[in-house]
Symmetry: D3
Subunit: 237 residues, 6 copies
Amino acid sequence: MRHDGRASDEMRAVSLERGVSRYAEGSCLVKFGNTHVLCTASLEERVPPWLRGGGEGWVTAEYGMLPRATKERMRREASAGKQSGRTQEIQRLIGRSLRAIVDRRALGERQISVDCDVLQADGGTRTAAITGAWVALSDCIGYMRDAGMVTGPVLVDHVAAISCGIVGSAPVIDLDYVEDSSAETDANFVMTGSGKLVEVQGTAEGEPFTRDEFNALIDLASDGIARLVDLQKLTVA
Amino acid sequence: MRHDGRASDEMRAVSLERGVSRYAEGSCLVKFGNTHVLCTASLEERVPPWLRGGGEGWVTAEYGMLPRATKERMRREASAGKQSGRTQEIQRLIGRSLRAIVDRRALGERQISVDCDVLQADGGTRTAAITGAWVALSDCIGYMRDAGMVTGPVLVDHVAAISCGIVGSAPVIDLDYVEDSSAETDANFVMTGSGKLVEVQGTAEGEPFTRDEFNALIDLASDGIARLVDLQKLTVA
Amino acid sequence: MRHDGRASDEMRAVSLERGVSRYAEGSCLVKFGNTHVLCTASLEERVPPWLRGGGEGWVTAEYGMLPRATKERMRREASAGKQSGRTQEIQRLIGRSLRAIVDRRALGERQISVDCDVLQADGGTRTAAITGAWVALSDCIGYMRDAGMVTGPVLVDHVAAISCGIVGSAPVIDLDYVEDSSAETDANFVMTGSGKLVEVQGTAEGEPFTRDEFNALIDLASDGIARLVDLQKLTVA
Amino acid sequence: MRHDGRASDEMRAVSLERGVSRYAEGSCLVKFGNTHVLCTASLEERVPPWLRGGGEGWVTAEYGMLPRATKERMRREASAGKQSGRTQEIQRLIGRSLRAIVDRRALGERQISVDCDVLQADGGTRTAAITGAWVALSDCIGYMRDAGMVTGPVLVDHVAAISCGIVGSAPVIDLDYVEDSSAETDANFVMTGSGKLVEVQGTAEGEPFTRDEFNALIDLASDGIARLVDLQKLTVA
Amino acid sequence: MRHDGRASDEMRAVSLERGVSRYAEGSCLVKFGNTHVLCTASLEERVPPWLRGGGEGWVTAEYGMLPRATKERMRREASAGKQSGRTQEIQRLIGRSLRAIVDRRALGERQISVDCDVLQADGGTRTAAITGAWVALSDCIGYMRDAGMVTGPVLVDHVAAISCGIVGSAPVIDLDYVEDSSAETDANFVMTGSGKLVEVQGTAEGEPFTRDEFNALIDLASDGIARLVDLQKLTVA
Amino acid sequence: MRHDGRASDEMRAVSLERGVSRYAEGSCLVKFGNTHVLCTASLEERVPPWLRGGGEGWVTAEYGMLPRATKERMRREASAGKQSGRTQEIQRLIGRSLRAIVDRRALGERQISVDCDVLQADGGTRTAAITGAWVALSDCIGYMRDAGMVTGPVLVDHVAAISCGIVGSAPVIDLDYVEDSSAETDANFVMTGSGKLVEVQGTAEGEPFTRDEFNALIDLASDGIARLVDLQKLTVA
């Protein structure tokens, strides 16, 4: 039995709310229970230097947390003068996940920057961010399509993410902060709408884990991500 | 006639929503029209070094904008590695404004950090931030009172703020971004519930201004702030 | 009675000494009593990126204090690795004040950087800096005129500044450090030669202040700035 | 057929050379083919603030590359003024991997810092670093044992790492730079001497990958890491 | 013949003006021709961590240039966010030179920070700084003696410095900026009142130099520094 | 008698090993006893901005120490976020020394960056670095010659360096860390193959020194550097 009464394969209440920003070309407020992340997609008519003139576009991501998104106030990174290693690791992950399902040639020589800002954190902020970022990205590309900037398909698939872990010796899905803090193993999975893997990250927080345990986590994640993709489809329909 | 149809002494729709953060001791989402600022008050059992052992507390503020709070995406300050001069100027203003209505001895040797994060910006972010910060601060002190940490009055008055300016030769209140960009004179006023001045900042963006013009701006501000204070009272009632 | 025997409307001894730098196109050592600021104006044949190609020039300012300009030695900002919020706030104020009286089109596509370095600080460094900076700027434009770089009027007016405050319940002008430290209200005014306002900044350090009190401060400032402008005229005559 | 003639399950020549630093309490120069990493373990009689007084120790890691470890010279991070996101991600990975096999209570309230500096890079620097770091750590603990600082077992297992990937549709082990640059999928595995998983990281560089493909990579890694652990045993025997 | 008519062994006009700072415990405005450096000595009742409790004091120095001390305006180091290598090299040199003639045990467990700020630069700023810093330091120690903080001798000797160089194949003393820019060899010498060497720095800017040439430079420096020491004696008499 | 049994004019065992980097155009591992420095020369088809279009090339150097090159682990400069003053001073010295023996016009408009990374430090790292850097530079220019990029002589002479000092009142050559820590005077000399001086740096760590003492140090250095140049000749023969 989990501390909040969920079954081992039960995700928290998930919601995806589109159009939450007046200015961004695409935006989504994603909630995985008490974890709330505001995702905005910003279109820019430029690409990083190493892509100039090649006809391909770029998708990148930045991640941040409001100082009091957490139980204890954390120092503001802008005031500390740098982004932590954790922040950089997460924003690199989000960027790679999104690029995996974008046809960068169809996008044209432009950049989409997706900002994922955590308003409230209760575990799973990176997986919520990826799941919501896809919606913001999708709306941004819809905006471009309406403006005649792109024609064929740019988003070639869905992408969504979920955390799984071993908590009290049992594999469970979508850990909240309490579970995350006591998990023996913690893993994040990013998968496409077609059920393929984009990113797999598993870490033994305490005891190392077996392949059987890891397989149980992938099983849980596959089911959960399929449901997240269904919700994405309903949201943008 | 103003571009959005408002009368010269008409503020935008203002709302103050308490309790928007699950973790902060006090919080308020303040909206002045399309300007939305999330204010959280965090209680910390420590004071800055120069106050240690003196029995007085401290109230400080930090300010930030989400990168796509604005029409054009702005660079994230955490990634740029420093806070801009404008950010620092605003957060110093918010801190001073709040300290003006706090009895720091009654607060005891503790610090309250108020974070004001702009989710969406359409002019007047600093004045909205001060107005909402008072509500967050008030709830934080209510939390302390419930916990028996303070007894007598800590907040000795209300504080709220509004911008006024000369736009198209006419004095108007609560400028939005369009007006702010074309104002000849731009001023911010911070006043208490008893109608006294805490901060006055007036800047000629184009032509220098006369004392008569400046007096017209203070008149507008006095009325507007009185209404903001009324709304604060209704909100925390 | 003020601690140094001045009347409430009496400024400290003010002097403006031109041509104190061998290299700068314009320079002025300004003294307000024991506050000494070295102002240099440097002409550069470039403008900030956002002005390129538009035919308009720019005037900007930087501010610094020598580490032992003050009673207690302060940490050198170059060694701390960043400028404080206070420094940035002041240099932005100086820059805005100067731009208010410059015809940037007549200046042509060039930048004048005015450096204000405080050699000794006894209160009022920012107001002394603005007053002296006008002289340095004026001489820099004179240099340009002699070199045939500009023809019509570039400086459209004078600009000078003074602090006023409520000290021991009485409004006084040109606060020194001792008064500044104990003032209930502290205000800085920047005005033109024609008596118009460019910047108004008033802050309640202790008790909030009334409009009547604030009006008394503007009255004092208007008289004082008129005398500073007279001195500027004598200096550059 | 791989570009350098290796079989798909064939690692590059691996060597582990102990005692390469005159000063470090433990050290190892590890080579995976042309990838050379110098690992040193430094004992320090202090722990991070959050562990003080708790009786537990800490193991941390830092990672760096010499500017010309690579085909093209890279900018020195000390001169750039910060560590890249990639560097931080790798050093966090190394630290977690080592802590997974250390009994931090048996270590006592001390810190071991393991520095992994890449002298030459040809792919797989992080996996070589982890494999060599274990040897340096083991010798550091041997030093402590000789000095009577620890008694019971501190290292509870071996830990080693290897990269695997899908290159030209085929799963292969221990990618060099050429393979790494063209891999469709790239994964790093960290496992213990007992064959359990400590870290799993898989990334689709091009096409997302299937579970079957991922399983093939784990199979390859399990065999490879078992051989690395054997070599570690021979080295410290 | 030198470009300004000086003989090869002729220094520029040198002046040392004491007591130029209202607040510093010791101060000196030193001029070597058009090179003007403001030196202040600040007494602090603390020492660096590595000296605490040992009964010895410390003397340190910081160096800076005003942005328009030079022909072309240079970027302000506080705004650039760091001190250049040249700045750090010079301030380390000044600090070492002063410590060479201070009895740090007689000083007691206190620190004297000497700030050398270049108001105007025409070559030889570091040698002027050292020469003037001695005067500031001497007055600071005089202040301490008057206050009964020290008793026996603290300054055990004078210290002064001069530059010499090979310009147009001829050895000359006290190079100004024009000479410095074209010198084949540039050297700085720091010597005591008793004629001993504290620091010797010689650099071939163009052709390497012979021992004979270097000896000619030391000869020039010895004479020049003796005259600077005489001037110091007159100044503090 | 020196603590390790060497005669006063006896250098430690010196070795120069070429071709230690797979990628660099030139490289050398230099050892002065237990001081080991890896030098790599990297050819880049660009020059600093101020040289563009002038037909001349540039040689620059960077210096670093691995954190555990020393007896006590030192903080990694990349993680501290900046290079120390000492590091910058040394890399400027190395760069100047190499440029003194390069015909920058014959080099053509290209830059050679020489990285000197200290793997192990036992005194004299900067002198070892210069001596080894010449070998790396020589091989880099040999690479360019083979590629037809340069024709005439580019390296116009050898350059090597050695430290000397007064230890226990006696002048000695090539100080190791123990001697360096107790030296009364410490000097570094950089000389060419033709016996001319490129850089002279002498510092009184304790007592100031006499000209006679300094001459004794130059005598020692001249002999030592001649032997280092002989070794360079053998190495690149």
